[in-house]
């Protein structure tokens, strides 16, 4: 029994990597890009490109495990990036700008949570509404334009070649790693994490067992919002401008990453490691397709197929394990 679970745990651990390994293997064997694909420089740029989706996915994992969904994530990222740019442009110190951006994200998330719990509406609708509201606000604040904030150290956060070169990776990538570990610990080793799983699995039960479900849900959405805010700051750092039209439709990418990584939209299932793998599967796919110079429509089709394939693989594994 004990050995069985250990073996199974190992398979469970490896299986999600399989998809990623497959994608990397495919591109590494393509004669055109072979030599370039696995170069450090390319890996670095894939890592940097992943930061924005990854940060969003950290929060989204929490939300999805808790049985919800956050469609406003991408708009929230855009709004936060605009707020950061606005603040820095208005002459505030960059750190304060970052703080404001992150807090804006958190506020939107908090509002999501409060509305969902107080109006007792499905998260899909509340966050769909918030998606429009946040995007509209972003455009309003930016006055339908992009905001050209003066360059500052904020814009180095996502520089592919970081300033103190011993950092190796962009500070944003390190932030992503640190937060991923923190979130994994939160989900696995804390009471709150346990409650998130319980709420996603059966909210009524959680409530009857004395979990403060409302409070927990507000925290879940607020946390997710904070991550969107941070992601928005990173977006600003990368673009060097605050762009209200950025990240349109990105929420679906974020959700797809979580689901590819084993998150269940019914709730109660998912993991940070899985979601991060999902993020990297998508990032490597995009990167590989672009390097190959394949047309975008081919890329779109391939990504669609991979999403289905990755999740089916995961499903088959689960079924065998059950």
């Amino acid at each position: 029994m004990k050995r069985k679970t250990k073996l199974q745990a190992f398979i469970n651990l490896l299986a999600p990597f399989l998809g990623l390994i497959l994608v990397i293997a495919i591109f590494s064997s393509m004669p055109d890009v072979q030599s370039r694909f696995l170069r450090i420089a390319n890996l670095k740029s894939v890592a940097t490109q992943s930061v924005i989706v990854a940060l969003g996915a950290l929060g989204m994992t929490l939300v999805i495990i808790g049985g919800g969904i956050d469609l406003s994530a991408a708009s929230n990222i855009a709004l936060s990036s605009v707020i950061t740019a606005y603040a820095i442009n208005a002459g505030l110190p960059p750190l304060l700008g970052i703080l404001l951006g992150v807090l804006t994200g958190g506020l939107i998330g908090f509002m999501n949570g409060v509305l969902i719990t107080e109006l007792r509406l499905v998260p899909f609708i509340i966050t769909l509404g918030m998606m429009g509201i946040a995007r509209g606000l972003a455009k309003w604040i930016a006055n339908n334009q992009k905001i050209d904030a003066p360059l500052s150290w904020v814009n180095d956060l996502m520089a592919k070649s970081p300033r103190p070169s011993w950092l190796l990776l962009a500070p944003g990538v390190w932030l992503m790693i640190v937060f991923a570990v923190a979130m994994a610990v939160l989900l696995r080793y804390t009471v709150f994490g346990r409650h998130v799983f319980a709420i996603g699995s059966n909210e009524a039960t959680a409530r009857l067992c004395g979990v403060r479900t409302k409070r927990a849900k507000v925290i879940i959405y607020a946390l997710s919002g904070l991550f969107c805010g941070l992601s928005g700051v990173m977006e600003f750092s990368r673009l060097t401008v605050g762009d209200p039209t950025v990240a349109v439709g990105l929420e679906l990418d974020i959700i797809a990453a979580v689901v590819i990584g084993g998150g269940s939209l019914i709730g109660g299932e998912g993991s940070i490691l899985g979601s991060m793998i999902g993020v990297f599967i998508m990032a490597f796919l995009r990167n590989g397709c672009t390097m190959m110079g394949w047309p975008n429509y081919i890329q779109e089709i391939i990504i669609g197929v991979i999403i289905v394939a990755a999740v089916s693989l995961d499903q088959i594994r689960h079924r065998r394990a059950a």
């Binding site: 804390t190 319980a198 009524a204 039960t205 959680a206 409530r207 009857l208 067992c209 979990v211 109660g268």
Partner: protein, 502 residues
């Protein structure tokens, strides 16, 4: 009278009223519970028992009325507040998070932690001990609850309640999926808790059980408290009379039925988790009982027959039609019908109306040129609601808002409406009151008389003995013995199901 009045009041409720829309679930109910008292709460389906205890636990709020706990006013705002005041509860509908493991479910809401970080090692041993104490060490701490059978889930639920050092423990039909042995074990636990000063409210439709464990009783009828007293000073008949307002003469009414030719024969059927293939025949006009312990494979057998779960192999022969790899719709076309033991998870479409649920497996009477006559369908549903005395506002009421027993009746109504030749009944009387039970036994008897075959799974031996023509005993996924009902006794059934030896 002496023992009945002794002891300090633990809980008192005064003039508690609760409405659900037009339904009055509780009407000016007074209720009191003493320290260390084991009190039975009795009543027909839909009498308001669950509603009353949910108000005590904080899951529902009363419209009106006062409550005191240990003399202090008590108005829990949510279940958490109830628990913190020392009220612990086993809900009628199992209350577990399917993705979480046994351990996680037991500790849910009361996790042991240091600064928010879980401390798992300490609780683990306690859980093991508790499960062992309940004689279910085979239930692993790390198994996700969705992989457990219904009975095992009920054990998990009980473990949770008794680990939660409560002052008042409420049990709403804790034994509906348990066998006699497990029930006995539970009673030992209850008595032990009593000596520790815990007060217990015990709801059950198994009146002999209740008589065995409870000292006092309260009977609810139509949301009113119609009588309270000491168990020792009353008889079952009196209690039943209080519950339903009249006397019940025959608990197991019987309509004579003749055994005909075989209508269902199962050959070498082996479910994925069963150890040995199963073979048996069911005849027209016969009620074949299946006895066994939790997880003995009865449910699995029924599901495999009906094609709900894949079987590794075997043959099912229904009235001459051989079905190897059954699909449920094919089975229904072959006039088989199944009642699931899990009414909430599988048996009912909870968010749909009674009419929808009752007619779901047979639309043919209401179809004309491919279109349904809504009126006819509603009328038919209303007839079944009357026939089974389902307590509801009408055919349009959603099933989710019915009481547990009435939901069970709705599931049964669906199967009866389907008018199948072979009925596979998995714990059909779960949570159903005495009166309705005897009515259901009568139905079964009548169906058998009409030439139908009935497979009757139950963990409640008296009803098997009272209703069946033959009884088969399952042990660890195989049939160990089949005999005519008259050749079984309560003890021999018990012996066969626990040891596997006839």
């Amino acid at each position: 009278m002496t023992s009945f009045n002794a002891g300090r009041l633990a809980l008192e409720m005064r003039r508690v009223t609760k409405h659900f829309g037009a339904t009055c679930a509780l009407d000016d109910v007074d209720f009191s519970l003493r320290k260390g008292e084991i009190q039975a709460l009795l009543g027909e389906n839909g009498a308001g028992k669950s509603t009353l205890v949910k108000i005590i636990s904080g899951a529902l709020k009363s419209d009106r009325g006062e409550m005191t706990l240990d003399g202090r006013p008590y108005h829990p705002s949510d279940p958490l507040a109830g628990r913190q005041s020392g009220v612990s509860m086993i809900y009628q509908e199992l209350n577990l998070a399917p993705h979480l493991t046994v351990e996680e479910n037991i500790m849910l809401g009361r996790e042991v932690h240091a600064g928010g970080f879980l401390k798992r090692r300490e609780v683990r041993k306690k859980i093991r001990d508790t499960l062992e104490f309940l004689h279910h060490p085979e239930i692993g701490c790390d198994v996700p609850v969705r992989q457990l059978s219904l009975g095992a889930r009920q054990i998990v639920e009980i473990s949770r309640a008794i680990m939660d050092k409560a002052r008042i423990l409420v049990m709403d039909e804790p034994t509906s999926s348990l066998t006699k042995e497990d029930t006995e074990r539970l009673f030992q636990v209850i008595r032990k808790l009593k000596t520790e000063g815990v007060s217990i409210i015990y709801i059950s439709h198994f009146l002999e059980e209740v008589q065995d464990v409870a000292e006092t009783y309260t009977v609810l009828r139509d949301g009113r408290n119609v009588g309270t007293g000491s168990m020792a000073e009353t008889t079952l008949e009196e209690i039943i009379q209080l519950m339903i307002g009249k006397k019940i003469t025959d608990l197991f009414p019987r309509v004579d039925h003749e055994r005909g030719e075989a209508i269902l024969s199962v050959k070498d059927l082996k479910g994925v988790q069963m150890s040995e293939p199963v073979s048996f025949d069911l005849h027209r006009g016969e009620i074949l009982g299946l006895a066994g312990l939790i997880g003995s494979g009865r449910t699995e057998t029924l599901r495999a027959i009906f094609g709900l779960d894949a079987a590794e192999g075997g043959l099912v022969d229904v009235g001459g039609v051989k079905v190897l790899k059954g699909r449920p719709w094919l089975m229904i076309e072959n006039s088989l019908g199944l009642l699931s033991e899990d009414r909430q998870g599988e048996g009912l479409a909870l968010s749909r109306s009674l009419a929808d649920n009752i007619t779901l497996s047979r639309f043919s009477p209401y179809k004309k040129f491919g279109f349904l006559s809504v009126k006819k369908r509603t009328q038919a549903a209303a007839q079944w609601i009357n026939a089974l005395k389902i307590k509801a506002q009408g055919p349009y009421q959603t099933v989710a808002s019915l009481s547990g027993g009435n939901q069970q009746k709705a599931a049964l109504a669906r199967l009866l409406h389907q008018d199948a030749d072979v009925l596979l009944l998995d714990e059909p009387t779960r949570g159903i009151d005495v009166m309705s039970k005897s009515q259901i036994y009568e139905w079964m008897s009548r169906l058998a008389a009409a030439g139908k075959g009935i497979l009757f799974v139950s963990s409640y031996f008296p009803e098997l003995l009272g209703v069946c023509d033959r009884i088969a005993v399952f042990f660890r996924g195989q049939i160990v013995d089949v005999r005519a009902a008259g050749d079984w006794r309560d003890e021999s059934l018990m012996a066969a199901s626990t040891t596997g030896k006839a």
